[in-house]
């Protein structure tokens, strides 16, 4: 896409630094965070910006992640633009407040540096942490590389704060694979980003006096937030959240396209990225950094005349059902790769969504599941190749031997 209008510069940043750099440019009012590996660099880097006076953000050093989220919710409730970051156990500790954030419709942006959950203790990448939070009403996006992490954080503020959405967003980046690996990241000028995200928009709501007031805590225009809603109204509020998720599908695309015009960078249609998919017969589906490895394998296979392709989900909540159907129906065999396990479930979380979306499609492909890379287990091209080999067999015979398999595991 050659529409770049502004002068950009390319600097070496690791994934965490790329996130911190984006947050620095987004005119954020409050950052409340607690450091945890492998997210630590985000918090360290951002507190450096604060100490150097490069931002006028209020940085709150909280004593736990539960408080990081509580503080983010209350800051956002006053109309402040709010960011936080966490990983693994930290995200798990936030669990209770994540539902409060989404139920209270607080447009918080959070970077989740994906890391395995204990036990055994492990600091490396898998998606168990954020997958465990997938039903809590947060938009979830996953970046393939540090460039996309930077770009997605900027987009995230504009998506979350959209008047039709008003939902919190977590942007996942793979722990260590992205967070601690230097990459050339092209960044927009400060002014461009500031203008792009603009000033936080505030919707209007009816208060207890029947007046229409801005949806934020303001002593001049009081409203009551976070009350009890029992059998009579709770259900209606949850339905509203479903609607906001549905609207987010459209807004994520809009914001992405608008951003692409400024930066010249785009990621598929914002919800999914199809890689050499058009004439593909055998396809893998994944999220996050593994897509990079898969793309090189797909290129190699294509040179050998094998019709391989990749569908990367950039957005996992809301699930882009239409895009899954349009990209995968008619294919012969699909392997969904999950970097987390839903113990005792019928496959990993992404597999469940993909297979389910294709159930009603008449020319639905054979769909199998590979659990891989738990606790940071290296995901090598040879493993991906073996998956495509399996898919070739399934495509040829029409038979699935093992619906759910583990790849890269010592059997």
């Amino acid at each position: 896409m050659k529409m770049t209008k502004v002068e950009q510069k390319t600097i070496p940043l690791n994934g965490d630094e790329a996130v911190a750099y984006a947050v620095k440019q987004c005119d954020v009012d409050v950052v409340a965070a607690y450091p945890i590996t492998p997210q630590t660099i985000i918090v360290e880097k951002f507190s450096e910006y604060v100490a150097n006076g490069e931002v006028d953000t209020e940085f709150v050093c909280v004593e736990s992640e539960h408080t990081a989220m509580t503080c983010s919710i209350t800051a956002a409730a006053t109309g402040a633009r709010t960011f936080t970051a966490t990983a693994s156990a930290g995200l798990a500790l936030m669990h209770e407040m994540l539902g409060v954030a989404s139920g209270s419709r607080m447009p918080i942006v959070m970077s989740v540096v994906n890391r395995a959950l204990s036990a055994p203790l492990n600091i490396h990448c898998d998606h168990a942490d954020s997958m465990a939070q997938r039903d809590l009403g947060w938009i979830q996006m996953y970046a393939e590389n540090s460039q996309e992490a930077y770009d997605s954080i900027i987009q995230a503020f504009k998506i979350a704060e959209n008047l039709e959405v008003q939902l919190p967003i977590m942007v996942g980046i793979d722990g260590f694979v992205l967070s601690h690996t230097l990459e050339n990241v092209t960044v927009l000028p400060d002014e461009t980003v500031k203008k792009f995200v603009g000033i936080r928009q505030i919707p209007h709501v009816m208060n207890h006096r029947g007046e229409i007031v801005p949806f934020k805590l303001d002593p001049e225009k009081p409203l009551t937030l976070g009350p009890v809603a029992l059998q009579d109204y709770y259900f209606e509020h949850k339905r509203q959240q479903e609607e906001a998720m549905k609207k987010a599908l459209k807004v994520i695309k809009q914001v992405h396209n608008e951003y692409a015009k400024q930066s010249g960078r785009s990621y598929g249609n914002a919800l999914v990225e199809a890689y050499r998919l058009e004439d593909a017969e055998i396809v893998t589906v994944c999220i996050g950094s593994t897509a990079g490895t898969i793309k090189t394998v797909v290129d190699d296979l294509r040179e050998k005349g094998i019709k391989a392709g990749l569908l990367r989900l950039r957005t996992f909540r809301p699930v882009p059902v239409e895009d899954i159907i349009s990209n995968l129906s008619g294919k012969k065999a699909v392997a969904v790769m999950d970097r987390s396990s839903s113990f005792g479930g019928n496959g990993g979380p992404i597999f469940i969504e993909i297979r389910h979306a294709l159930y009603d499609v008449s020319d639905s492909p054979k769909v199998v599941n590979y659990i891989y890379g738990l606790g940071g287990r290296d995901t090598r091209p040879i493993m991906i190749e073996s998956i495509y080999k399996d898919l070739q067999n399934i495509a040829k015979t029409g038979q699935i031997e093992n619906k759910i398999q583990f790849v890269g595991l010592r059997e």
């Binding site: 009816m206 207890h208 409203l223 209606e236």
Partner: protein
Amino acid sequence: MSPQKKNWKEIPIAGVCWVPSTDYKTGDWRSYKPIWNIEKCIRCMNCHIFCPEGAVTYNEEQNVMVYDYDFCKGCGICANECPAKAIEMVMEGKE
């Protein structure tokens, strides 16, 4: 479900209260009801100060304590704090 309740498209987002909290009568949770005795009461105002619901007020003109049973939840704090034993907690329906 009663017809006057609003649907999900009509209510404000995030559970913002669009009606005063006083519209929500919490008094029907009560199992014990405080019964005030005009004879024993020395008008010390303890019940008014201690009631967590603000359900006890003083009517100066008539010199009486007034109980708002729409919001009294029957916790019994007023009876406990009353130095004159002028408040009796009576099982609902048996007063």
